[in-house]
Amino acid sequence: MVIASAPSSPSFSKTFFDSLYELADGERFKSCLQCATCSGICPFGYLMDFPPGRMISYLRADLFDEILDTDTVWMCVSCYACTEVCPAKIPVTPGLMTRAKEEMLLAGNLPSELQDALEYSQRYGNPLGESPRKRADWAKDLSPEIPIMRKAGRRVDILWFVGDYPSYHPRVQQTSIALHKILNALEVDFGILGPEENSDGDTQRLAGERGLFEVLAEKNGKCFSRYDFGQIITTDPHAYNAIKNEYPQLGIEYPIQHYSEFLYERIDDLKPLLKGNGQVKVTYHDPCYLGRVNKIYDQPRALLRAIPGLELVEMPHNHSTSLASGAEILAVACPYEPPRFEDATKVVDGAEGLIVKDIIELLADAI
């Protein structure tokens, strides 16, 4: 029998576990029942060497180093499914998973694609490696022209925080163009930051790059402070989450709404503009950071039901357990989704005919 000598300094598991206690609700990690509901609901749990429940048991057994030798934490997409279902209300995603990614990152142990995205975010203010000068190029040919705050030199009611994918991704630019159409139809006074806008930093933060998140947030905060506007809106649930819940911790406080909240408040003005495009069955996928994290479930559905001829059918999993029924169209409300689900329809049997559209695109099509 081999008896290990007592470690002279606290083990890595111990210091890591202690660091979790310092987080909001961190002491709840002690109350894990090992029920494994988290591991069961995790969309990637079946691929992980250490799904969340097992991570907690290894952490308690002082064996956390073993987890960091695997690629488990990089399979976590921070979707909050585990955190939502945990009966002990343990902050698995914001605590364990994010902190574990921070440790991996500090050790320089990260996938090369993520390294590129983080380096691009530092250098160009977007993870796609695109020119920051071209951030507003998607809007170049739109009529009426979108005011860019620096050039406009005036107050606007609404500052539209466009975000990375809606600015640069060719598919997602279509959702930006759709929102432009709706805002103009509603005669909203709005402007964008253009090349001055930086990535909101939320996904970088969730990937364990807290320092980079702070740099990006500070850049955006400085930019917000230069201009006069009533409130911010965005199509991106991550930008929404960052500016609503994370920026205030850095002293950057501005009112923000997701477009689904903003348009829902104006649904009486919107309804008369919607003509519809015939009878169509639509189902809706709740974005992680709109639904589970920020509890916005009803407004997106109300907007869909406002479209004449549109029948909303729910998937077996919806609301807080949303996962991507009979529908012809899959409606989404997050810029990551259209390209992702369109790719999925190409490889999933029976999904060939499914159309993927952001709610804003469906609204704009109906005008």
């Binding site: 320089g108 990260l110 530092q122 250098r123 020119s131 790059e209 807290r210 320092g211 980079l212 740099v215």
Partner: protein
Amino acid sequence: MTHILVTAKMVPDLVEELEIDDSGTALDMTWLRLIINEFDDHSIEQAILLKEKHGGDVTVIAPDFEGIDDVLFTAAAKGADRLIKLTRDFEEGVNNHALARAYVETIKLQNPDLILTGVQANNDLDGSIGPYLAELLGMSYVGYISGVSLEGDKVVVQKEYPGGLIGEMEVALPAVLGIQASEEPPRYVAVSKVRQVMKTATIEEQEIPDLDPRGGLDVNSMYLPEAAEKAEMLEGDEEEIAAKLVEILKDSGIL
């Protein structure tokens, strides 16, 4: 203990469109975004890998262009021990003949055993820096290196040749190497780590009085690549397109 010295410079970042200035002989620097020369980044990584394996220390030396402080602090966060910045007004640009001469006095004071340079850079109009440094310092030079190991008073290097051939050779120290690729890709350092290093590390500044560009090139004119003749798109259904394609191939003598 091995003293390793790495040269690093900023080069135009091709993420932005390049523009030619009014003189028509150089890039317009007004809107130019600069980035660490990718091959220099690999040189820094290779130096750190050698230090981690064999001990020794690493000095990074760089001319003062916009953004160089961040590059130097990042190198320190990766494990570089000394950071030296060559200062003067480089606005007019600097060719590699002048840059090599500017490096030499500072490098001699460091007395390095091994100098790593990026094998090339996208703005090397007058050849790469490594051979000039080797000539001025009286050292050997081997370029296109993708692997280095220290063995006493020599290094064993893997040199890449065209056609996928790799040559392995011994080089007596001191020597200058032109790094094509480090053995591991350049590592990521968390922003928090770089910010910490910024508080503790210092960048030593060495004033460069004059630049001596002799031996370099005089640029007569610089211009963007010109669009050549457009491709002809064949119209019609598959049969028609195939028939037209066969016709074209016959006319051009290929069929």
